[in-house]
């Protein structure tokens, strides 16, 4: 009971902090747009972790689905219909379906090899976005679209110029996806994912169809990722080919590991630290990459279980 209360109060604290963010962030040197970016990238890191932390499958090409989501959303807004919700739908479907198709090809691979193949295939989409400049804007990225006001039937919310309204829009989207993730992880399917992570061979002996489960988990993770990517296009009113690049995949993985990949909320914490650090360091030096690189090395050497894992260890000791 005590444990349960503790968990509930932490959960409540997280949501209160997120809901009140536009009010407290200016006092600690933040701004609302930074909060929105943290939410979206955090959602991406949580999607990567859905696969990495809870199924134990190491995909290093997830930026492809993130970027496809962004391009899908941007292209729809630019060429088809000026509707934010349709844009989100198009981006999510584009990234999720492509990811699912590719996943079917890869599910039998494991470990390092799986990582290599996902990186290489992820780069395909980077090259397409880079080369097909008549459609995607090539190196310059896709410009010329804007997120549109939301029509809720009884009211219209201007999320374009009002950054606080947009933050809450993103927060609602974030909450829906996070709830879906939590629901899946609590379901029998989610428990099976954990069983595969812990001991694949034993799970196979129990009659679990490993490939099928991994494929479903991979595809779900791609859909979540593509949704985060679509939101990211709305954040910037811009889709960047670098969002598809494998270095972006690396950033998502490091956010997940930095926060703690065995924890549901770990990747969000990782995203907070990563995004704020990147924002700060890139404002003081042009060689910010070196600091990001050092962060990677330090995390691997000293915090392999992430900040949350580290805190827990300290408490036990």
């Amino acid at each position: 009971m005590n444990e349960m209360n503790r968990k509930l109060s932490i959960l409540a604290a997280i949501w209160v902090a997120l809901v009140c963010a536009p009010f407290w962030m200016p006092y600690v040197g933040g701004y609302t747009a930074l909060g929105t970016r943290v939410l979206v990238l955090g959602l991406g890191a949580m999607s990567v972790n859905f696969l990495l932390g809870f199924t134990g499958v190491l995909s290093f090409g997830h930026a492809a689905w993130f970027g496809l989501g962004a391009y899908g959303c941007g292209l729809l807004l630019k060429f088809v219909a000026p509707s934010t919700s349709l844009g989100l739908l198009a981006g999510t479907l584009l990234g999720g379906v492509m990811g699912g198709l590719l996943g079917a090809l890869l599910v039998r691979r494991r470990g390092v090899y799986f990582a290599m193949v996902t990186i290489a295939f992820g780069q395909v989409f980077y090259y397409i976005a880079f080369q097909w400049s008549s459609l995607t804007g090539g190196d310059d990225g896709l410009r010329g679209f804007e997120r549109q006001p939301l029509h809720l039937g009884f009211a219209t919310v201007d999320i374009l110029s009002d950054s606080t309204a947009f933050y809450y829009f993103v927060l609602v989207c974030f909450a829906l996806v996070v709830a879906a993730m939590a629901f899946i992880l609590r379901s029998p399917f989610g428990r099976t994912m954990l069983a595969i992570r812990e001991n694949e061979r034993r799970a196979r002996f129990l009659g679990i169809q490993i490939e099928q489960h991994i494929w479903i988990a991979f595809t779900l993770s791609c859909f979540f990722m593509a949704f985060a990517g679509s939101l990211y296009a709305l954040v910037n009113n811009f889709a960047d080919p670098l969002g598809l690049h494998y270095s972006q995949s690396g950033n998502f993985v490091i956010m997940a590991v930095l926060g703690g990949m065995r924890r549901f909320w770990g990747p969000l914490l990782g995203a907070v630290v990563f995004v704020v650090l990147q924002d700060y360091v890139s404002s003081i030096t042009i060689n910010w990459q070196i600091f990001i690189g050092i962060l990677f090395v330090l995390v691997v050497l000293f915090f392999p279980r992430g900040l949350l894992g580290f805190l827990q260890q300290r408490k036990r000791a």
Partner: protein, 289 residues
């Protein structure tokens, strides 16, 4: 048309030769230590820039010889201090570590030598084309092919004929048994890593002579090298060799007919190979998969 075709095939082979050098080093390290070295391109760049720094003192030939050794020493230090700590751990950590190292090496190169590209001069007699009809075959290109051939032959004979080489190959198959037989696996892995980085450094010098030096040039070679390994088959060095040349020629040929797809075609090739023969052309079932 024949000339254009020949021009692009030669071009493809040249590029393929670079992929081969890079991929062989990556493959060596992956096979023995299970580490995908994302920082490989970073070491390649360092090799090129060290040669650029040494050239005024040692000349082209001196720099060509000295730079790979210095790069290998840097690689050895990095392996001892950092990479050796993640051996045997979840591949996630070696990926992240070398990923971070790649950032550090690239940004470090930019800090030391500047973001602007640097020219790397090659001897006069190598820069000239061998004939006016085949203007695209310069002496330097022939020279590069020669070096690549020497390195590949040297590497394969090292692995077949020397005691250390045989241990490396045995370790690729079953490291535990090799350790049980009294081989110092720690030293073996370090040496193996250094050999891989030596080759990377050498390709950096060669690439610098052909294309000039830029801090980002290594990252661009990394993906094709990955694909060379996947197409050739993980665990097989001969496969890596064939894979590298194959994707080089494929992208060279595509450049004739449909230039904008010349990079995409190597991914198509990879997809076809994975669909029809998931272990790669020369790969053995079960190795690292």
């Amino acid at each position: 048309m024949t000339q254009l075709l020949l021009f692009n095939i030669t071009n493809g082979l040249m590029i393929g030769a670079f992929y081969v050098l890079m991929a062989l080093g990556l493959s060596l390290i992956l096979n023995l230590s299970g580490v995908i070295n994302f920082a490989h391109g970073g070491f390649l760049v360092i090799g090129g820039y060290i040669a650029y720094t040494l050239e005024p003192y040692l000349g082209f030939w001196g720099a060509l010889v000295a730079s790979p050794f210095l790069t290998a020493i840097i690689g050895l230090a990095v392996e001892r201090v950092l990479i050796s700590r993640v051996y045997g751990r979840d591949p996630l950590y070696s990926l992240l570590l070398t990923f971070g190292l790649a950032y550090i090496l690239e940004a470090g190169t930019r800090m030391i030598w500047g973001a602007q590209g640097k020219p790397f001069t090659i001897p006069e007699f190598l820069a000239k084309p061998i004939s006016s009809e085949f203007f695209f075959i310069t002496g330097y290109r022939l020279f590069m092919v020669l070096i690549v051939a020497v390195v590949v032959t040297g590497l394969f004979s090292f692995l077949r004929l020397t005691r250390i080489g045989i241990r490396i190959r045995a370790g690729t198959l079953d490291l535990e048994t090799v350790a049980g037989l009294g081989v110092n696996v720690r030293a073996l892995r370090s040496l193996n890593f250094a050999v891989g980085i030596f080759i990377a450094g050498l390709s950096g010098v060669l690439a610098g002579g052909q294309l000039g030096l830029e801090p980002t040039m290594g990252a661009g070679l990394l993906m094709p090298s990955f694909i060379a390994i996947i197409v050739g088959g993980v665990g097989s060095l001969a496969g890596t060799l064939v894979g590298g040349l194959l994707i080089g020629v494929a992208s060279g040929l595509t450049a004739v007919f449909y230039p904008s797809a010349s990079e995409a075609v190597i991914y198509v090739l990879m997809a076809v190979v994975l669909l029809t023969r998931p272990r790669g052309l020369f790969g053995e079932e079960g190795m690292l998969t």
